[in-house]
Amino acid sequence: MTSRFQAASSEVSPIQHTVSPYVVGASVLAIKYRDGVMMIADTMGSYGNMARFKDFHRLHKVNSTTAMGASGELSDLQYIRDMLEELTLGDFQQDDGSQLTAKEVHSYLARVLYNRRSRVNPLWNELVVAGVEPGPNGQAFLGTVDLYGSNYEEDIIATGYGQYIAMPLLRREWRADMTKQEARTLLEKCMTVLFYRHCRQINRYTLSDVTADGVDISEPFELEVKWNYKQFVVPTAQQSLVQ
């Protein structure tokens, strides 16, 4: 008698829900500019206090008009990437010249994430969707979805610590008609500041640029950082009294 109950309890385990993330990605920043949308993220996957993966690419090309970036649990990012690839593959197989637009991808992800949240088993991410509508006069699209399913469209987007550190800088310096170089410089400046202050970021980034010409995701690159300000090298307490 007892063995039947025992067998039952050892074979059937309760359904697990995500309660905390394990391998996480840091902030993603994205801005609209004159020719389209630009997005940047570093290439680190942190395992708590450990810098576990240092070449994890968090910016992904969905199709020729849309790119997606993610912060948060990286296994969920990979699952979402697989889901989107299925959709893109389906579009390709239809072979009717029509693709999912960025707005549609954003809407789809918002519904998926809200549905998961409602089942109390979230995909622990903050996603950024960037794209440009195909055809002449295509509108640029930039939106975000988080683990609760909260979603909105904006001209400037930051996830994670970027909201506290990069957003004040982006809000001050962003203009709608920035050139490609200006947009890149702004994003790089914000990422450098984030690297100074965010313990879970490294100085290695990928940049994605979506324009009417398509989606381009760069190879990883480093940015210049400055650690040798005079007062850090020779603190005021140790400076000579003779000024």
């Binding site: 610590y161 506290y164 550190i165 990069a166 957003m167 004040p168 800088l169 809000r171 001050r172 400046k189 914000c190 450098t192 500041v193 100074y196 202050r197 300000y229 005079k230 007062q231 850090f232 603190p235 005021t236 307490a237 400076q239 009294l241 000024q243």
Partner: protein, 298 residues
């Protein structure tokens, strides 16, 4: 079986004669018991949500602060002063519980004044820092004061941060409070070696504004304090006021010129200049009191 008796105040006093009085312990327990009726009456501490910042430039130190004080999610003071006087050459910005920052800085200011009289020398920033950190460490973080301390003394210009548990840092630029991330972002993007006063003040102004606009715990105006080796102290209270009330009533107040309301009729009644109120017979012993009340109307 012990029965619970309710005691009246005099019985309570008698029961607690001599030795220790633990009446307040019972009150503490009741407040912590989670009883909604009791715990909802406890007021929230007034905190300064806050953005405070400081920077060392080529001729001294510039301190900056916002001016919003909050009680929970209500702004209780739109223009409070968060840059506190410690000594003539030393000032301190305070974030955290307002009472704690105010009283702690006053105490250390007082101690430094006595110290100055005793030693005959100008107070040093590290002395203020040491006094502050020793007090805060003693209270193990229960005094919720996070400070940016800056000043100029015989050893040069210095800037320190003091944390509620008693640790300190000495830095070229520092921010504290809920808006510290926004302000620090501005500092990290804009700091360079050998800033002059104008650049330093502009940078601190931008940093505090970043806190005001992007942090909900900060708001109001920007206060700046420049402590310079050559020009002494310049306290710029309300250096910038970017949140002025948009719609103001006439500055004269509720003054309406005669004729605003149409007068349809007028009647004047003159009252007697002197009224005597007759006294009533009393049951009291003191019949000698004059119970007539005379009202003189001029």
């Amino acid at each position: 079986q012990t029965q619970k008796r309710t005691m009246n105040p005099s019985q309570v006093l008698n029961a607690n004669k001599g030795g220790f009085d633990f009446e307040l312990s019972k009150r503490n327990e009741a407040l912590l018991s989670g009883n909604q009726a009791l715990s909802s009456k406890v007021p929230k501490a007034m905190k300064t949500g806050t953005t405070i910042a400081g920077i060392v430039y080529n001729d001294g130190v510039v301190l900056g602060a916002d001016t919003r004080a909050t009680e929970g999610s209500i702004t209780c003071d739109k223009n409070c002063e968060k840059i506190h006087y410690i000594a003539q050459n030393i000032y301190c910005c305070g974030a955290g519980t307002s009472a704690d920052t105010e009283n702690t800085t006053n105490l250390i200011s007082s101690q430094l004044e006595l110290h100055k009289l005793q030693t005959g020398t100008e107070p040093r920033v590290i002395t203020a820092m040491t006094r502050l950190k020793q007090r805060l460490f003693q209270y193990q973080g229960h005094i919720s004061a996070a400070l940016v301390l800056g000043g100029v003394d015989a050893t040069g210009a210095h800037l320190h941060t003091v944390w509620p548990h008693g640790s300190t840092d000495r830095l070229p630029f520092a921010t504290m409070g809920s808006g510290s991330l926004a302000a620090m972002a501005v500092f990290e993007a804009g700091y360079k070696d050998d800033l002059d006063e104008k650049e330093a003040v502009a940078l601190v102004d931008q940093a505090i504004q970043a806190g005001i606009w992007n942090d909900l715990g900060s708001g109001g105006n920007v206060d700046i304090c420049v402590i310079s080796k050559t020009n002494g102290v310049s306290m710029k209270r309300n250096y910038r006021t970017p949140n002025e009330r948009k719609f103001r009533s006439d500055l004269k107040g509720y003054h309406f010129p005669r004729g605003t309301t149409e007068v349809t009729s007028e009647s004047v009644e003159m009252f007697d200049p002197s009224i005597v109120v007759p006294s009533e017979p009393d049951d009291n012993d003191d019949k000698n009191d004059d119970n007539d009340s005379k009202m003189d109307v001029e």
